[in-house]
Amino acid sequence: MKSILPILSVLAAIVVLWYGGAVWLNSQWTYDQAARAGVEVSFSEMVVDTLRQDRPVLPAPHQVAVGLWQGVAGQAITSKRSLVFHAWVTFSATMAGFGLGTFAGILLAIGIVHSRAMDMSVMPWAIASQTIPILAIAPMVIVVLASLGIKGMVPKAIIAAYLSFFPVLVGMVKGLRAPDAMQLDLLRTYSASQAQGFWKLRLPASMPYLFASLKVGIAAALVGTIVAELPAGATQGLGARLLSGSYYGQTIQIWSALFGAAILAALLVLAVGVIERITLKAKGMAR
């Protein structure tokens, strides 16, 4: 609750800056138009005009808010014009990809921590895999998968998984290695098996790291889904909305979709945070 006031002040500051930016960036167009029409505009006319252009360089906050509102509440949520509908499409693929990516990331991390051969060979290549611009090859991946008969949500989920497994992998490797020497030595004196060491020491010790990376991972999965939605024939999902806004230079639509995506991301991260708090509390790790 203490955070409300600071957040509001920061938001207020952003909105003020934003309005300023909108006036500044959009004024060029206003003046150009006036010049073409051969009329003079006063400063106040200019300000008013910059805040209600159809294709502003930077839409004003209220324009985006209206766009969002119409996208969310202005239609039936099953309508193709509803942002809720598109967000749902994106959300389901995100969750599928996130599940897949988290599973793969944790599995690989377990392998890396327990097998020296995997540690040495997989990690450098996992890093290299992330330097491949997925956005560049996403269209090809979709084409290849489509030629194998895989379509619909699955290719999107695979690309989302590709982006989300890495943060989970890195975090889990760090987390599973977080126990200090003494904690490990203790188990050695009990001659605990690897499995026991995993369940009773490494896994609980990795919890804070796991959740930190799950938060990154779920956001990455969302980005992956949106990226995958661009070339998927630009039909449904927030990514398709973004892109189709782009084709027609409809900045307000772009920004509404953008904020829709960001709100979805924030909600997802928040959800992970809630699960984190519950889990850590049960484990006595939250003070």
């Binding site: 040495m120 611009p133 956005l135 560049a136 200090d180 973004l242 782009s246 995506a261």
Partner: protein, 281 residues
């Protein structure tokens, strides 16, 4: 079909060899280099074998040998694209973005008000997908590398910020109590306790940021660019069905990214030698 079988056989043998090497000589430097290399070679052999064996069309997925040929034939082109995208766009954006993030992190750490206000909002902004931001920034900063750098700044800023803030908060109670008993001033505590203690976290962020910087710079070129750059080349070459050139660019990107990551990891090793994770288990 034959090639595919040979490749799979090779995979099995290499996996076994790696297992033996890694467990027999875990400390040897040579083994530390050989094992990942062998793994990589295996991947390539598998790829080559499957593409050739299953007769995958080169417009879908070229074989590594085709890609190597394309790299050899296009060295000056690849270098030009590399300079445009990585040396100008990615590097400039990385330096500005990481520098700004560290400074803001210190400001945020200093002021609980900012910390409570800026971080949630910052997290929200960080969640804005790059594909949405890139066209806007191209619109604002023009077609050349400046807009790519701007995209990179946006992309690397928040991961570094979040890690740095976590790092600045990561000092243990005892260490902070010590500073309190000496009544150290804020800059003193910052310089002598919080910054060193934050380094492991900061490097975490810096490493993540390397891959993000590359992706950001390349992807931003999809949304408008001069007629050079890795992202430009990739999208143009896909349109021309010159897939070997596409993969040549991707190879360069992966090499540059791994090199960049490795460089930061090396600096990390030198700067945080004292941290348990660097001392090995």
């Amino acid at each position: 079909m034959n090639e595919a079988l040979v490749a799979i056989l090779f995979w099995g043998v290499a996996w076994g060899t790696n297992g033996v090497l890694a467990n027999r000589f875990p400390k040897s430097r040579l083994v530390r280099a050989i094992v990942p290399a062998l793994f990589g070679v295996t991947l390539l052999v598998l790829w080559q074998g499957l593409v050739r064996g299953l007769e995958v069309s080169p417009v879908i997925l070229p074989a590594p040998s085709d890609i190597a040929t394309a790299i050899g034939a296009n060295l000056p082109l690849l270098w030009g694209d590399f300079a445009q995208t990585i040396l100008k766009g990615a590097l400039a954006g990385y330096l500005i973005g990481c520098g700004a993030a560290v400074l803001v992190a210190i400001a945020v750490d200093r002021s609980p008000f900012l910390q409570r206000g800026l971080l949630p909002v910052g997290n929200f902004v960080a969640a804005l997908p790059i594909v949405g931001i890139a066209p806007i920034l191209v619109m604002w900063f023009g077609f050349d590398w400046q807009s790519k750098a701007a995209v990179v700044v946006v992309m690397v800023f928040f991961p570094v910020l979040v890690n740095m803030v976590a790092g600045l908060a990561a000092t243990d109670a005892l260490s902070r109590d010590l500073m309190a008993t000496w009544s150290a001033s804020y800059p003193q505590a910052l310089l002598k306790l919080r910054l060193p203690a934050a380094l492991p976290f900061l490097f975490n962020g810096l490493k993540i940021a390397t891959t993000l910087a590359l992706i950001g710079a390349i992807v931003a070129e999809f949304f408008g660019s001069p007629t050079r750059g890795m992202g430009f080349r990739i999208s143009t070459a896909v349109g021309q069905l010159d897939l070997p050139l596409v993969w040549a660019e991707i190879t360069v990107a992966a090499l540059a990214g791994s090199g960049f990551y490795g460089l930061i990891a090396m600096i990390e090793k030198a700067a945080t030698f004292w941290h348990p994770s660097q001392r090995g288990h």
